[in-house]
Symmetry: C2
Subunit: 108 residues, 2 copies
């Protein structure tokens, strides 16, 4: 059954909103919706899995320890496991929809 | 380094165009670009892996043995391993961009 990344999003999002779209032993695909949310001051993600992330709509700024990356619709980036990062900001004028694919980084 | 799903697409696509965006032992993420392409008459995909697919831009019609599904931007669908399907049509007026995530369907 098909679904849409643009449907079934609550109007009010006090927190960032995460929905698992598909999951198996090896991979988890999530839709994440931000509504002006950012990582708390001083917080860094430090994940055990690789995360490939696509910005679907809205906009965002990711900060890494060595660079800052602005993401607009269609932009995608691979965040390898253990690469510390934070969401510096997301659009304050529209919801920001992300598609994230988490997976182990075992070599082929 | 960020990239965009909308950039670096050849103008002329005699065949459907596939680019691997990320790959590990467990998962393969592909950008697929169709330009009016469809599966050959009588051809059915019968894949050994689960495929989660998102239609990013353009439009398409997928045919399964028991249903036909029209996909527009933002629509996504999980195609379990061994579920036979074909691409019945893709937009004839613009390129159709797909994001596909192939992975083993091992239970969690």
């Amino acid at each position: 059954m098909k679904k849409s990344l643009f449907n079934n999003i609550p109007d009010a999002l006090p927190n960032e909103w995460v929905e698992v779209l598909a999951e198996s032993a090896d991979v988890r695909i999530e839709r994440i919706v931000s509504d002006g949310h950012a990582s708390p001051d001083g917080f860094w993600y430090d994940q055990g899995q690789d995360e490939w992330v696509l910005l679907v709509s809205g906009s965002a700024v990711l900060t890494f320890e060595d660079e800052t990356v602005e993401l607009n619709p269609g932009d995608h980036i691979m965040i390898p496991a253990r690469r510390r990062h934070r969401v510096e900001s997301t659009s304050s004028t529209e919801k920001t929809i992300w598609l994230a694919v988490f997976h182990e980084n075992d070599p082929i």
